[in-house]
């Protein structure tokens, strides 16, 4: 369970939002809404512990994510704006590295299957530099199939640059994760059809 208490975030000299309270139960999908620049990315990075909030606390299963960092990060899967791909490595090598660096024990075979499943079977040996925008995003998203026991997924505009088929596929993966008791927090400006509506948090309401 993810709890946000009284959160406010500052960027430069601008207070983006203040007094944000939110608690997300297992199985819930939360979509952050708001116009460009309202602070969605900032909030997500706060939730991951990459940015220190100006005020307020974030708790995971009752513990502050600061004090229990390692436990929290063992449960967290974050996919941000940037794809975290090294241009010289192939999709397979990149995926394997991301998993291992996050201490997920994955087999080579599982990585290959994840990449094939996400439609990169033909590009498995190409350096990532050669991939198209959408293909790069797919490599990052392949991680979702391999982070099985991670409960909390935080996704920043995951549908960007994906084609229609991939969007539908990803949406159903998110649904499946929630159905299995996971939590998904995401932002997107696109209207995507999920199997059930999920919760929507409008950040514009908290903006300063």
């Amino acid at each position: 369970m993810l709890e946000i208490r009284d959160l406010s975030c500052l960027r430069g000299d601008r207070l983006l939002f203040a007094d944000l309270d939110l608690s997300v139960l297992p199985g819930e999908r939360v979509r952050l809404l708001g116009p460009n620049g309202v602070g969605k990315t900032t909030l997500l990075r706060c939730l991951c512990g990459l940015i220190d909030p100006e005020e307020g606390e974030i708790h995971w299963n009752g513990h502050s994510i600061r004090s229990e960092r390692e436990d929290f990060h063992r449960q967290l899967l974050y996919i941000g704006h940037s794809t975290a791909l090294n241009d010289l490595l192939t999709p397979l090598e990149n995926l394997r590295f991301t998993c291992r660096a996050g201490t997920d024990q994955v087999e080579e075979q599982a990585c290959v299957e994840a990449l094939e499943r996400i439609g990169l079977g033909a590009q498995i040996d190409l350096p990532c530099r050669a991939l198209s925008q959408g293909q790069r995003r797919r490599v990052g998203l392949a991680r979702l199939f391999l982070g099985g026991e991670r409960r909390l997924w935080i996704l920043d505009e995951p549908f960007n640059a994906l084609d229609v088929a991939a969007v539908a596929d990803l949406a159903s993966s998110l649904d499946a994760h929630c159905a299995a008791g996971g939590i998904v927090v995401l932002t997107t400006h696109q209207d995507v059809s999920f199997s059930h509506p999920g919760r929507v948090v409008d950040l514009a309401g908290h903006a300063c």
């Binding site: 990459l50 967290l76 704006h81 794809t83 010289l88 490595l89 991301t98 996050g102």
Partner: protein, 222 residues
């Protein structure tokens, strides 16, 4: 526990292997810069032989410097750094792996190339051996201190230069003891003290630098 350490080490070595030309290019840079000095300073063999250890040490230092800012830059730009910071294991672990991979792929080749250059400057065997040993013991310290600098200047404008300015003063002691070792050997007082100091410095840096580096990286990712 060692998962991220091994993963990062493997990947960085793989990257070096993928761009194996880079390693050769590092050596090429080392050689070319050394060859510049005779043009600037003049081709008198005795003078050249005398200043050779100093030149090679300064050269090694510059080669380190030029490649340092690549240490974290790529990972920072493409977002891998963020992902690594979200790894459950302590940051120092994989930071050490990165520095180790860096040393193996840029400093070690220099140590190996140094004897050849020594011949170009007509250095004699004994002092050449001392020089290589001093490089071998001193470069880890360069890499470790340099990594702290690289982490501190990550994502700032004027990165490469600022980095150079930050770490060069820190490198000066290494340079003094490194080039001093050869002088001491030639002066007959033996180079052991200098070499021991270099080794000690490298060990101390090995213990302390990764922590500083990890802290700096956390700040840079904010």
């Amino acid at each position: 526990m060692l998962g991220p350490f091994i993963a990062v080490l493997r990947r960085d070595l793989l990257l070096a292997w993928r761009g194996r030309a880079d390693v050769l290019v590092t050596i090429g840079f080392f050689v070319v810069v050394a060859c510049l000095f005779p043009f600037g300073v003049g081709a008198e063999p005795n003078q050249l032989r005398e200043i050779a250890p100093g030149i090679l040490w300064v050269d090694a230092l510059l080669a380190t410097l030029l490649s340092l800012h690549r240490l974290f830059a790529q990972d920072h730009a493409d977002g891998s750094l963020e992902q690594l910071l979200l790894s459950p294991e302590p940051t120092v672990l994989w930071v050490s792996a990165k520095v180790l991979a860096y040393w193996l792929t840029t400093s070690l080749p220099l140590v190996i190339a140094a004897p050849g250059l020594g011949l170009l400057f007509d250095m004699e065997q004994g002092s050449l051996k001392v020089l290589c040993l001093s490089l071998l013991l001193g470069t880890p310290m360069l890499s470790l201190l340099g990594a702290v600098g690289a982490a501190l200047t990550l994502g700032l404008r004027g990165g490469g230069m600022l980095l150079a300015l930050l770490v060069l003063p820190l490198f000066v002691p290494v340079l003094i003891f490194g080039a001093g070792a050869v002088d001491a050997y030639l002066g007959g007082s033996g180079s052991d003290a200098h070499l021991l100091l270099l080794a000690g410095g490298s060990l101390a840096a090995l213990v302390l630098a990764p922590w500083a580096c990890a802290a700096a990286l956390r700040i840079a990712a904010e």
